[in-house]
């Protein structure tokens, strides 16, 4: 068993065009998906991220407004999920509603001491 970090990117362009009803429906899909993970004991943690941010470089000598280049690359949120291996974590991520908006999920294993 390992923990995996899901980084959610993109989808902003089509998200902003949704009607209020569609937004709510989309939100409920996330709720259902995450609720399912929670029920199976696979969900460890997760939070959405605000669009605005700063990028700090050279110990603060360079601070730029983030995020960053293209909208498609902005991380909109993250989840930490428990799975047996990377393949399973990828499999779980396939149910994520972000794909409705052409966003993507980066799946990364979180390193642990018992490797």
């Amino acid at each position: 068993m390992s923990n995996f970090l899901y980084l959610f990117r993109g989808g902003d362009a089509s998200r902003i065009q949704q009607s209020p009803d569609e937004m709510q429906a989309h939100m409920q899909k996330w709720g259902t998906w995450m609720g399912g993970l929670k029920e199976k004991g696979q969900l460890v943690d997760g939070l959405p991220l605000n669009k605005e941010g700063k990028v700090v470089e050279k110990a603060g000598q360079v601070i730029t407004n983030g995020p960053f280049a293209e909208g498609a690359e902005v991380v909109g949120g993250y989840l930490i999920v428990t799975a047996n291996h990377l393949d399973e974590a990828v499999e779980i991520s396939k149910g994520c509603p972000i794909f409705e908006h052409n966003g993507n999920v980066e799946v990364r294993e979180i390193m642990s001491m018992d490797m």
Binding site: R15, Q18, S19, M23, Q24, M27, G31, M34, P48
Partner: protein
């Protein structure tokens, strides 16, 4: 994680109209686009945040606070001449009063004013409808396009122009008191009924029941009756009509989320309370006027459906009588086809088919899903199963509603079974 989300149906659309009305009332139609952006952005934030977290206990208060803050931020950035003190006072009021009944009163008042602003006489009827559906109903361009049978981009362009008109011609929101109120009220009613129909009949997606929108429409009509100038017979007739329709709401769908047609509806599921309320309003509407309006007639028809003990005991003669008067007042494909259903029951399928053929030749002929569904029904009654099946297949193609398509498919398989 968020089981509470399921409990609040259509809250986003619901809240959109409320908050837009309140902010436009406060900051003026000049800022309409910034207000829309702020509310849209707020809903987006809610969507993201509430996916992860519990929905707040008072969603309206949350959304209103975030939208107001976001709007004021934008206005400050633009260095618009906002009275700083006034803005601060409003923010304070919003932040302290979000759970108050007081807030509901302000919202109700704002929305009533908003209805009349959207229906300002200097704005064309087409724009009035679009403005109301967008700014009060919280519908998207796509949804409106479907309701009005237009292209999405046409609606988008029209909405942009309509907003410009609103900004130019309506400087602040108020309820009209002058003589023109009556005609302005008629457009308002048309829009409320459109909103209602969108909720009741469904034009898209898998969600057949948008009861929330129906009650929202009734709520808007009730808001009108609270104002003595707006409390006209048509308003009460429309409320009656909507109550009778909604009384059958639960019966129209079964446990498998499939459509149940009138013939097979469980009458025990009809909401008696709503029929009683509808009756009160129809009585009031009848007392108030000498000649029935279209809403009176439609309410009377809907009443007949709602009180019928069974499909076979439906008072088709009265329904047809009402349709005969109605069709003279407002001839539309929906009225023609609905009349045909009762005509079929009274005069038989042969004559009804002749009527349908006349309709096919008429100028307002529209080969809609409903047209094919009615046609299929007539063929079925004439024992022409293949033609009935074909019509149902056309109906499936014409429909963009999954549940409706499923319903037609089911009818096809029933037809096939009946021939075995």
């Amino acid at each position: 994680m968020n089981s509470t989300n399921i409990l609040i149906e259509h809250i986003f659309r619901h809240e959109y109209g409320k908050i837009v009305a309140l902010l436009i009332n406060k900051f003026g139609p000049a800022h309409i686009e910034k207000i829309e952006d702020a509310v849209q952005d707020t809903l987006l934030k809610a969507m993201q945040l509430w996916s992860y977290k519990e929905t707040p206990k008072n969603p309206t208060g949350w959304l209103l606070r975030v939208a107001t803050n976001s709007l004021i931020d934008t206005l400050r950035k633009d260095k618009k001449t906002m009275l700083r003190e006034e803005t601060e006072a409003f923010l304070k009021e919003i932040n302290s009063n979000t759970e108050d009944i007081h807030l509901n009163t302000i919202i109700g008042d704002s929305q009533l004013k908003m209805i009349f602003a959207c229906c300002h006489p200097s704005i064309s009827q087409e724009y009035q409808i679009i403005l109301s559906l967008k700014l009060i109903g919280g519908f998207s361009n796509k949804e409106i396009a479907k309701a009005l049978l237009k292209k999405e981009e046409t609606i988008a362009k029209a909405f942009t122009r309509a907003k410009k008109k609103l900004r130019t011609n309506v400087k602040s929101l108020k309820i009209p008191m002058e003589l023109g109120l009556r005609s302005r009220l008629n457009v308002v009613l048309k829009i409320i009924y459109l909103l209602f129909s969108e909720g009741y009949r469904t034009t898209s997606g898998e969600v057949l029941i948008k009861k929330d929108i129906c009650f929202e429409s009734i709520r808007l009509a009730l808001l009108l009756t609270e104002n003595k100038y707006c409390n006209q017979p048509e308003v009460n007739a429309l409320i009656a009509l909507m109550c009778f329709h909604v009384s059958r709401f639960e019966a129209r769908i079964d446990a498998n989320n499939e459509i149940v047609d009138l013939e097979h509806q469980d009458r025990k599921k009809y909401d008696r309370d709503l029929i009683v309320v509808g009756n009160q309003y129809l009585g009031l509407a009848t007392q108030q006027s000498e000649e029935p309006s279209g809403y009176h007639l439609q309410a009377a028809i809907s009443y007949c459906y709602s009180i019928a003990e069974s499909f076979s005991k439906t008072d088709w003669n009265s329904i047809l009588d009402f349709y005969d008067i109605l069709i003279k007042k407002q001839r539309s494909p929906v009225v023609v086809l609905n009349r045909l259903i009762s005509y079929n029951k009274v005069h038989g399928a042969n004559q009804a088919m002749n009527e349908l053929k006349l309709y096919e030749l008429s100028s307002n002929f529209n080969d809609s899903a409903m047209y094919y569904a009615v046609k299929a029904e007539l063929y079925k009654d004439l024992d022409q199963f293949d033609k009935s099946k074909m019509a149902l297949k056309r109906a499936i193609k014409k429909s963009n509603n999954l549940l409706e398509q499923k319903h037609f498919s089911k009818k096809i398989s029933l037809l096939e079974k009946s021939r075995l």
